[in-house]
Amino acid sequence: MSNNTFDSASYMSMELLRFTTAGSVDDGKSTLIGRLLYDSKSIFEDQMEAVKASSEKRGDDHINLALVTDGLKSEREQGITIDVAYRYFATPKRKFIIADTPGHIQYTRNMVTGASTANLAIILVDARKGIIEQTKRHSLIASLLGIPHVTICINKMDLVDYDQATYESIKADYKRFASKLHVKDVTFIPISALYGDNVVNTSDNMPWYNGTTLMYHLENVHIANDRNYIDGRFPVQTVIRPQSDTFHDFRGYAGRVSGGVFRAGDEVKAWPSGFTTKIKAIHCDNQEVEEAFDPMSVVMTLEDEIDISRGDMITRSNNEPKTGQDIDAMICWMDDSKSLQLGGKYTLIHTTKQCRCVVKSIEYRMDINTLSKDQENRTIDLNDIGRVKLRTTVPLFYDEYSRNRVTGSFILVDEGSNVTVGACMIRS
């Protein structure tokens, strides 16, 4: 593992991996994160001192690594993680962003939030308990939110005498269950977060395990193909028009590439106007770049002056997005004050576009523990997941979520409170 030396050559080629951790109460998730940070030497001395002092104050008989991650007062008091907390560490190969989310059913919305930006999900399973409802729920969320890589850490192996048969049987159970989901890449690792087995260092207690440690997996899992480099999508955030003599005629479209690759000279189409033109140049700050791809933030200039403003989208002209006002989507409801209203109107935010929508139908509510579709009780309350059909005031330009996580996602905002109430993934 790392000795934390960063020479200027190595950090210039470090990749970024975002992962989420979900687990049940008491399955050792906070301990695992504390362990990853501790063993990768990412916990500083003063943080460690603070954790030691808090552990003693609470009367814990060992240094409680879980305290490293539990940030807010009420969490430290209750001993559970109630919100999404972000943690950071780096090895010479990668920088990691952990979205640490609570595992209990009442925090499904937090799990969904953490999962929305993740490349990888770590799902913790207690070796003594095996696959339980929460494991299934976390896996469903990972599948629904399109997390490309799922790592099942079978934890507390120390409490089952590091027994291979226990591990194999949990693995087989999980595979049977996961065949119903859309998870592309699943990896299994037997660990003990408390003692550090197979977290950063290979365990001597499980010689029967031939796979990699969790840290090795995080450092090496192939993420370069997680993004979409096929469908050129460029939602326009803002138009850059400098009021200066030097750049008098400059009119640039600022945005972040959200799929595909754009090059100067490429033929592109603007939505919703439908006009076709060519890319004159792509700018990054004061430099011109030859190509821009997901997730680069750039400014594009075009050969022809066409009317494009915030909320519009530039795409490659030979690869068009879907467009329409009738949207079929999966929804996770996040409002604790009221349920999703059939016939209700909401503000919809999709890429850089904002419009309104009405809920035309609620197809079903998903029982997230059994994965079955409930068509009897279709009330979508806080933390519920369901399928809805919406009608928007103006056409959206979109892709299926399974094809593009940026152009395939949107949120609903309550028009009275302005609070984000729904997270949606487009089916078609």
Binding site: Y11, G71, I97
Partner: protein
């Protein structure tokens, strides 16, 4: 495979995206500029996000009156270079007019007096979004802060009732009188910041680099000689080679013994460091949840 960018470029792209969202979603946004490296980085990213147009936000500095002189010179030069509008909210004049109170006692600082000054500046200029260079890795209460952090009409932060923030969809909708605090470099660590400053060759106040300085020690913290500090019995000034890792008030910001006088040496030093950069900030040591308590009241 040719299509990949390194972690610094990805963080840069994310921050630029957030800066442009702020410009597009708000009527009267600003950058809170402290003179520290994080707000200098943020200003640099803002320049990139809108080039060749000028930065479409003013820089707002809440001047405690206890700043290092180097910080103020640097601030003025940068604003001039970028042709950015600079707005200064003065803690001293708030104290003089009785709208803020000077702390007294052993470890008095002007941290608390910054809060009414900041809120007064927000009201006076009707800012609806204030961007800051705060990072989630700095402190445990910040680890849960959103990119777009909603504040009610009393500027209060409600950590238990934050809006969910999904994908890269930032919901800046608000009622009249409310505003947002926005943190475009939320996902950067101290090491990322230094690596990026090195990669982009960003100018910083000289205080960040090792230099000879007249210092003394108080409660294990190395403080700079300053007109704002009265020496206590047993404390004496001596000259040493030090540098600063953060840039707060001269009265509370601790220096480090360090010979890192180049960016590469600083990156090495930060990578090997065994304590967090806020470790030398007396303001965070007051209680276990000092930062969370201050944030709820409206502190940045």
């Amino acid at each position: 495979m040719g299509y990949s960018i390194n972690h610094l470029r990805e963080l840069e792209s994310e921050a630029i995206y957030v800066l442009r969202e702020v410009a597009a979603q708000f009527e009267n946004p600003c950058i809170l500029f402290s003179g520290g490296k994080d707000s200098i980085l943020l200003t640099h990213l803002a320049k990139k996000a809108f080039y060749p147009a000028k930065i479409p936000f003013p820089l707002v500095h809440i001047d405690t009156g206890h700043n290092f002189p180097e910080t103020l010179t640097f601030r003025d030069d940068l604003a001039k270079e970028l042709q950015a509008k600079l707005i200064v909210g003065s803690v001293q004049s708030m104290i003089d007019t009785g709208m803020a109170h000077e702390e007294t006692g052993a470890n008095a600082s002007r941290n608390i007096a910054q809060i009414p000054t900041l809120l007064d500046t927000i009201e006076k200029h009707k800012f609806d979004a204030l961007m800051g260079g705060a990072r989630r890795d700095e402190e445990k209460a910040r680890a849960k802060e959103r990119f777009f952090s909603h504040r009610d009409e009393f500027s209060q932060w409600d950590p238990k009732n934050q809006r969910p923030e999904l994908w890269n969809l930032y919901n800046g909708k608000k009622h009249h009188g409310e505003h947002f605090r926005v943190f475009p470099i939320s996902n950067w660590t101290e090491l990322d910041v230094w690596q990026y400053i090195g990669m982009e060759n960003i100018a910083l106040p000289s205080l960040y680099y090792a230099h000879k300085r007249r210092i003394f020690e108080r409660d294990g913290v190395i403080l700079s000689e300053s007109p704002f500090i009265t020496l206590r019995e047993g404390e004496e000034i001596r000259e040493e080679i030090v540098r600063f890792r953060t840039m707060g008030d001269a009265t509370i910001t601790g220096a480090y013994r360090s010979d890192a006088d180049t960016i590469d040496k600083i990156i090495q030093e930060v990578a090997a460091a065994r304590s967090t950069e806020r470790g030398s900030r007396a303001d965070d040591k007051r209680s276990e949840t000092a930062m969370e308590d201050r944030k709820k009241e409206g502190y940045f």
